[in-house]
Symmetry: C2
């Protein structure tokens, strides 16, 4: 289970590169597989994005049959990606699958790549919430957002919207505007580290869902998150390590 | 500002390696500098662990004088590490420091390296809390722990204890035992990816602070986090993507 990081080859770890080179089979969502240059003889198994559990079962069946299988994942496989689906498939699958030698190779997850591009907005306590309600009730998402705001976490929002769910991010912003200062910095980070990277920093009062798409991660500051203005450049965004006069 | 990942060279990104090779000066906490093989002519500036702000100012002064400075950080510089201190130093420092070309190179942070070693315990919504009360009141830490528990986040605890603070992790466990099931999996991950790596998985009811030290990150499952037993091996730990019958 290999994390490819946010996009750029320079953010793929040597561990990931080595595991990919050693595999007999590569399994993954088509666009992620396309980021990997398979060597001659390697078998590529592409699939659709929404078929995570089927993809995991397919990979496990191949591994149980003696293949060395690398399942590729964007970012870090353990953060709203393929790893949880793999272990779910193992738990519900063939007893023999539990004996497969599984290695998870971590990767640079989107929120950390995005944070690095603007400063250190996650430099203090923070949380990560998947805004998709494909697999959980929307009420749970809103409850978590409110509790995260009450805890004054900086908040990273993954999967902020999709064609099937255009309204979630809008609702999330409305909700946060009720409890966080209007000036709270919000970072829209699209396609971080890729050629079409685009970063917008706006106050929460002006945060509009339309700025995001399926390749965007959204970071919402805590009450302490600050902008450092720069002459002729995008400001730095950071959350101080210090709270309450310590 | 360069993230070196959790420890192993195979988890250092090519981007980090390239930036380190290009620097004239390396700045950092001694043991982190020791992980970097400086090339001839590079100047190394080691310092003590608690002098983050002084170290940041020193690096900025060098950069303002025209040096190419790499500040090294364990894990990801943006997660309870050097990046927030750097931007704090810029904000409070010389106006010219705001014009320095700052690049943050993300790294594999401890909680993600630890999660990868046991499965996917952070596979659903989660938060990261620094247990140190050096820079924030302990009351804020306990409030965040309780709200995180109420939100049913999986929780990563950084800096769980130190010689100066032996009691925080004990209090955190006591507090969580009041609100999370006794069987909740707790992962103690010590020195992940290094030769002396040690991983313990215990139920919350048996979680004792003595299992942790300054090189440990602690992961506490949500109410949904599960163990998958394996014949003759450590169980997998994962948090399902699915909640509430979806």
């Amino acid at each position: 289970m290999v994390g490819l990081g946010p996009g750029a080859a320079r953010l793929v770890t040597p561990e990931a590169t080595a595991v990919l080179a050693d595999a007999t089979d590569l399994v993954g969502y088509g666009p992620y597989l396309a980021r990997v240059s398979g060597r001659p003889g390697q078998v590529c198994h592409g699939s659709d994005n929404r078929e995570e559990l089927d993809r995991a079962r397919h990979a496990l069946a191949l591994a149980a049959a003696g293949r060395r299988v690398a399942v590729v994942s964007s970012g870090d496989p353990g953060v709203f990606a393929m790893a949880a689906a793999l272990f779910e498939a193992i738990e519900g699958g063939e007893p023999a699958w539990r004996e497969i030698d599984v290695e998870v190779v971590p990767g640079i997850t989107a929120m950390l790549a995005a944070a690095a591009r603007v400063g250190a907005p996650l430099g203090h306590d923070f949380c990560a919430i998947n805004l998709s309600d494909n697999l959980k009730p929307w009420e749970l998402v809103t409850r978590r957002l409110l509790l995260a705001a009450e805890a004054d976490f900086a908040i990273a929002l993954y999967n902020p919207l999709s064609r099937a769910r255009p309204w979630q991010l809008h609702q999330a912003f409305e909700l946060l505007r009720g409890v966080r200062p209007a000036a709270t910095p919000v970072v829209f980070a699209h396609a971080v580290s890729e050629p079409d990277e685009r970063i917008d920093i706006v106050p929460l009062s002006d945060a509009e869902a339309e700025r995001a798409d399926m390749r965007t991660v959204v970071l919402v500051g805590s009450s302490q998150t600050r902008l450092v203005a720069r002459p002729g450049g995008r400001p730095f965004v950071y959350t101080p390590r210090r709270v309450g006069g310590r």
